[in-house]
Assembly symmetry: C2
Homo-oligomer: 608 residues x 2
C-alpha cells in the first residue's frame, strides 16, 4: 500500500512536490497550490492544461492526440490532467488559472471552486439542409468546442427538440460530470445550486450551496426520521430485518427527513428545485445503505461486510430525492462497515492524509471512529463506545438540546453551562458528562479506578453536600433533579476506554507515541463540543499539550461541501479508501488487553 514517492518540479515556479506513482501532473500541482488553467476541470477535453515535460516522461494518451498537434507532442507537450507520473519529472507550466475562485473550508483547507456540475451557455447554429446534424450532435459539438464532454440520457432527449426550437437554439446545458442533466432555455448560468447533506444516525444537516459563488445559501438540520426505529445503527438494521415492509419503512422515513429539509432549504433561499442539480451525501455505511434501499443486514453481523464501499452516482429520481428530476445523488465512499463516508469526508476536511503533521482525528459517538496518520500513511478503525457520549443510558442523560448541561466547572461550588442560557437544567448531555467526570477527578471526588467518593469519605470537601445516594447508588448532584451516578461513570469509562484503546492500537501499529502527535482533532456532531481539557483528563485522548487538542466541527458536512464545490476534491475523496488502512479491532488480542488497562482514568499528574 505504501509506494515509493516520485519528485515533480514545476517550472518556472521551481515548486516541487513528492507524489505516489500514477498521480497526474495536474493533481500534483493543484495540491501544492498551483492551479493550472483548465475549463474541463481535468477531464482531458479542453486542452488548456497542457504542460511541457522537460525531464522524465509521460506517455502519449488518446486525449493528447485529440487535443495537441503532432509537433507539440514531439516537443514533450502533454495534457497535465492525463499525464501520470511514473518517474521523477520536471515540467514547465505555461499558464496558471488567473483568478481561481477559492474558499477556505474544513480545517483551513483552501478549496478551488470547480464543481462537478457545470453550466454552459451555447448559441447553436440553426439546422439547415447543409447542416442536418442531429440535435444531440449539434449540442455536443458546441460543448466540445468549449472543452466539455457530454453523455445524453433519455429523459433529456425526450424534450430536446422542442426546448432547442422554443429557445431559438440559445440554451444552457447543465452537466453533472459528463452527464447532460438538463438543457434550459436561455442563459441560466447564474442559477446553479447543489446540496451537501450530512446524514447522521441522529441528526441530518443539509446545506444549500450556490455553485456559482461557493457560498452557503441556507442550512437546515433536523432529527433523522428513523429515530423511532432505534437510536443506533444496530437497532435500525434489526428493525429492517423484520422484512421488506420494515426496510421500506426505514427508507421512507429518512427520505421524508431529507426531502423536508430540501423543501425548507428551497423555501428559505428562494431557490427553485429545478435549479438544484446535485446532492452530495455523507453518512455511515448503514445510513447510506438504508437511504438507498440496500440490504444492510450483513453490516450488523460478524464479519461486518457492507454491500458496497464505492462512491455511487445515482439518479436522484431512482434515489427518491427531491432535487432536479435529472439531477444526481453522489455518495462519498466508505472505508468499511464502521468507517463511513462521514469519516472519509472528515479526512478530506481536516486534510489529515495530505499534510506532514502526525495527527489523530476522532469522531466521538456511539461508535468512535479514529483516524491516525499523515500524508505518509493513514490508519483508521472504529471502536464501539456505547451510548454514553450521546447522553443515553445515563441516568439524567439527554441530547444536546435546550436545558442540557453542556459544561461544568467545580470549585468550591458548582458552575453550570446550560444550553438555552439562564434556564433550569433538565439533564446532562455528552459534553457535560465528560466535564463532570473530569471535574470530579480534579476535585478529588473520583479516584483513578472510577470510584466516586461518598459524603462520609469526604466530609470536609466543599462540595460534600453534593455527594448523595440515589436508589442505593452513589451520585453527584449537579442541580435540582440532575445528578451523575456511579453507574454513569462506569458507562463513560467503558466508552472512553474503548476509544482510547482504538487510538492506542493505531498508534502501536503506526509505531508512534503521544509525544509524536502534532495534533488531536475532535470532530463529529458530538466530539466538536467536547472540552479538550476534559477529554484529556478522562483519558479519552492521548496526553498531548491541551493546545494541540482541537475541536474541528462538523467535518462530515464540511467534506460533503468540499466534494460538492470541487471536482478535484471529490476525486481525492474517491481515492481515500485505497490509501487508508483499516485496522479491525474485533478479535485483536491487543485490543482486549489494552481495553482493560485504559478503563482506568489517567493519574492526574500525567494529564495536567
Amino acid at each position: 500500500m505504501i509506494q515509493k514517492k516520485l519528485e515533480v518540479i514545476y517550472k518556472p515556479f521551481d515548486k516541487a512536490t513528492r507524489v505516489p506513482p500514477g498521480t497526474t501532473l495536474f493533481s500534483a500541482a493543484h495540491w501544492i497550490g498551483l492551479p493550472i488553467d483548465s475549463t474541463c476541470g481535468g477531464r482531458g477535453t479542453c486542452g488548456k492544461c497542457k504542460v511541457q515535460v522537460l525531464e522524465g516522461g509521460a506517455e502519449i494518451t488518446t486525449a493528447d492526440r485529440k487535443q495537441l498537434r503532432a509537433a507539440e507532442l514531439e516537443e514533450g507537450w502533454r495534457l497535465s490532467c492525463q499525464a501520470k507520473v511514473y518517474e521523477d519529472t520536471t515540467v514547465t507550466v505555461p499558464e496558471l488559472l488567473r483568478v481561481p475562485k477559492a474558499a477556505t473550508m474544513g480545517v483551513n483547507r483552501l478549496v478551488l471552486l470547480d464543481p462537478n456540475v457545470r453550466k454552459v451557455f451555447v448559441e447553436l447554429a440553426e439546422p439547415s439542409l447543409t447542416d442536418q446534424r442531429s440535435d444531440t450532435e449539434r449540442l455536443r459539438d458546441a460543448l466540445t468546442a468549449e472543452g466539455f464532454d457530454m453523455k445524453v440520457e433519455l429523459r433529456v432527449l425526450r424534450t430536446l427538440p422542442s426546448v432547442l426550437r422554443d429557445a431559438e437554439f440559445k440554451v444552457t446545458a447543465v452537466l453533472g460530470g459528463d452527464r447532460l442533466i438538463a438543457v434550459e432555455p436561455g442563459d441560466t448560468r447564474e442559477e446553479s445550486y447543489g446540496v451537501a447533506m450530512d446524514l447522521g444516525t441522529t441528526t441530518v444537516v443539509g446545506t444549500l450551496m450556490n455553485l456559482k459563488t461557493g457560498m452557503a445559501e441556507a442550512v437546515r438540520s433536523t432529527l433523522n426520521g428513523q429515530a423511532p426505529f432505534g437510536a443506533d445503527v444496530i437497532s435500525r438494521i434489526s428493525h429492517g430485518m423484520q422484512g421488506d415492509e420494515a426496510k421500506t419503512e426505514l427508507r421512507d422515513a429518512v427520505l421524508r427527513t431529507i426531502n423536508t429539509i430540501l423543501s425548507e432549504l428551497y423555501e428559505s433561499a428562494g431557490v427553485g428545485r429545478d435549479r438544484v442539480y446535485e446532492l452530495v451525501i455523507v453518512g455511515n455505511a448503514t445510513m447510506l445503505h438504508l437511504l438507498l434501499g440496500i440490504d444492510a443486514t450483513p453490516i450488523s453481523m460478524m464479519p461486518f461486510t457492507p454491500a458496497f464501499t464505492d462512491p455511487l452516482y445515482v439518479p436522484a429520481l431512482d434515489a427518491g430525492i427531491d432535487i432536479h428530476a435529472g439531477g444526481y445523488v453522489q455518495t462519498l465512499p466508505v472505508v468499511g462497515a464502521y468507517v463511513g463516508a462521514d469519516i472519509v469526508a472528515g479526512i478530506m476536511a481536516t486534510g489529515l492524509a495530505r499534510e506532514d503533521k502526525m495527527r489523530v482525528f476522532v469522531d466521538v459517538g456511539t461508535n468512535g471512529e479514529i483516524v491516525l496518520g499523515s500524508l505518509k500513511r493513514v490508519l483508521c478503525t472504529a471502536a464501539p463506545a456505547g451510548p454514553a457520549f450521546e447522553g443515553s443510558q445515563i441516568r439524567c442523560g439527554m441530547r444536546a438540546t435546550e436545558g442540557a448541561i453542556e459544561g461544568v466547572t467545580l470549585t468550591d461550588h458548582v458552575e453550570l453551562q446550560v444550553i438555552g442560557g439562564d434556564i433550569a437544567p433538565r439533564g446532562i448531555c455528552g459534553s457535560g458528562l465528560v466535564d463532570t467526570v473530569a471535574q470530579l477527578r480534579l476535585a478529588g471526588l473520583l479516584d483513578a479506578g472510577g470510584k466516586m467518593r461518598s459524603r462520609e469519605e469526604a466530609p470536609e470537601h466543599p462540595l460534600s453536600d453534593r455527594l448523595i445516594m440515589v436508589d442505593g447508588v452513589r451520585a453527584f448532584l449537579l442541580a435540582e433533579n440532575v445528578y451523575l451516578t456511579q453507574r454513569d461513570v462506569r458507562e463513560l469509562q467503558f466508552g472512553k476506554g474503548s476509544i482510547a484503546t482504538g487510538i492506542k492500537v493505531l498508534m502501536d501499529v503506526m509505531g508512534v507515541r503521544a509525544t509524536d502527535l502534532d495534533e488531536v482533532l475532535l470532530g463529529g456532531s458530538f466530539g466538536s463540543y467536547l472540552n479538550p481539557e476534559s477529554a484529556k483528563i478522562i483519558g479519552l485522548v492521548p496526553a498531548v499539550d491541551v493546545d494541540h487538542i482541537l475541536s474541528v466541527g462538523n467535518t462530515a458536512g464540511e467534506g460533503a461541501k468540499m466534494a460538492l464545490l470541487s471536482f478535484r476534491e471529490r476525486q481525492v475523496a474517491f481515492e481515500l479508501p485505497d490509501k487508508v488502512e483499516y485496522v479491525e479491532l474485533s478479535g485483536r488480542s491487543d485490543f482486549n488487553d489494552s481495553f482493560v488497562s485504559v478503563l482506568q482514568f489517567p493519574e492526574l499528574e500525567t494529564v495536567q
Copy 2:
C-alpha cells in the same frame, strides 16, 4: 472523411490487411478472419489478446500497464485490443482463439459468437474478519480475475447481500458490456438470451436468440400497432404533433406491439423473461424516436433533423420493454433523419462497407434508402418513393398477405402467383405491381413513356381482351375484379423514378457507371420479394447483368442479430455513421433534372 490506409501484417500467418489509422490490431485481425484469443472481447481487461509489435509502433496504454509486465512492454508486447495503428505495423500473434464459435449471417457474413451480454459463474470466498471486502468488491475482484470489468447499479445492489448469502456465494454475474445486469444464484450460464427486433413502420419482427449457441429460438412478426395513426412516418409524426397525449398514444401502441411479440417469443421458446437480458432494435429514425418517447417533429419538416443519431443503451425499464428488469435496450445508430438504423444494420448484414466489391444496396419502400460503395468509400441517400411499392394508392393494391398477386408472367395468357396458393386473387402487392408493369412492357402493351395501349390500339394482341376501361381510365385485367390502371402505372413511375434518380445521383458523386457495379442488392421487407429482372426492366435499378441483382432478405433484422451476437460487429455498426457520407437530395438541382429523365421506362434493348 477518406483517410490514408495503413498496412498491418500478422506473423506467423503472414496475413496482411489495410486499415484506417486508429483501428486496433485486434479489430483488424478479426476482420480478416484471425480471431485473436480474448475473454473480455476486446475491452482491455483480460490480457489474453497480447501481441508482439515487431515493426511500427503502438503507444503503451493504461490497460497495457495493468495487464503486462514491464519486461513484456519493453519487448514490444501490447494488448491488441487497445493498440491503435498509426503507422504500417508488423506483429506476431502468439495465440488464436482455438475453437471460435461462429455463424453465417446476413449476406455470407461470418460472425464470431461474442455477445455483449456475458455470464460469469464465480465461487466467492466467504467474508471473514480478515477479509471484510464489501459484497461489490468481492464480486468485482472475482470478475477482474476472470478478465471482466463491472459497473454496479442500484437495482442490483439492493438485493446483492441476500442473493450472495442465500446462494452461499456461488453465483452467476450477468454483464451487459460492463454493467452488472443481475447476480443470479448458482450457475445459470446455460440460460442466456437476447432479442433482435426489426421495428418497421408497417411490420415488426422479433427473433429470440440463444446467446450461448447463437441460434434463433423463436421468431414472431406482427403489424406495427401504430398503423391506425397513419401508414407512413410523416402521418405518424403529424399525429404526435397533436399534443403530449397523442405522443403517448403512439409510444404505447408500439410498446404494446413489441411486448406482445416478446411474450409470444417467451411462450413459444419456453424461455423466462428473466433470462432475456438485451434487446437490439433497429428501425428508421422516426420509429426509434417514437418508441423512446422522443419528440420527432423536426424529422418531418425542413431541414429534417433527428434529435439523436447515436446508438443508445437504455435501461429496459426506462424504455418500457419487457425483458429482464435490469436488462438493456440497444439501438443501432442512424445516419440521418431518413437513413435509419435499419439501413445501418443493412450495411452490416451485406458487408457493403467492408468488401472490395462496388455494390449498391436498395431498401425499397415508401422511402427508398440507397447505399453505394465498398470498403473504400460509402455514400447513402433516401429517395421519397411514395406509397406505390407498399401497395397503397394503387387501385387494386394490397399488402403482401393472403390473396395478393405477388408474381405475374404474361405470354399468350396470364400466369399469376398468388400468396396463399390456389385461391382467388384479391389484389396486387408491390412485387406483383412491378412484375405486371415489367411484363406489360415486354408484351408490348406499355410504351417507354408509360402509356398503356388500349384494346383498340392492339386488337391482334393475344391479351387484347384484358385491355379494359375502368371509370374512363385504361386498365389491364389480371383476374376477376383485379386490374392495373393507367394511374397505377404513373404512381409506380413516380416511385421507381425517385429511387432510380437517387441511385444515379450517388453514382455520379462516386464517379461510377453501371458497368462498374459488381452487384445490386435488393433488401427490406418489400425489396427482397422483387423479381430482379422486373426491377431491371422498369428501370428501378441500374442495367447490370440480372444475375448480379440479388435479393438479400430482411437485412435490418439480420444486422440486429449480428449486433446482438457480436460485440465486435456492434462496435463496427457504431462507427458506420462516421464512415458513410450522406447525400441530401432535397434542393439538389441534379436530382430534379435526373428525376424527369428517369420517369420514363428504359428502352427494352438496354435491359434485356
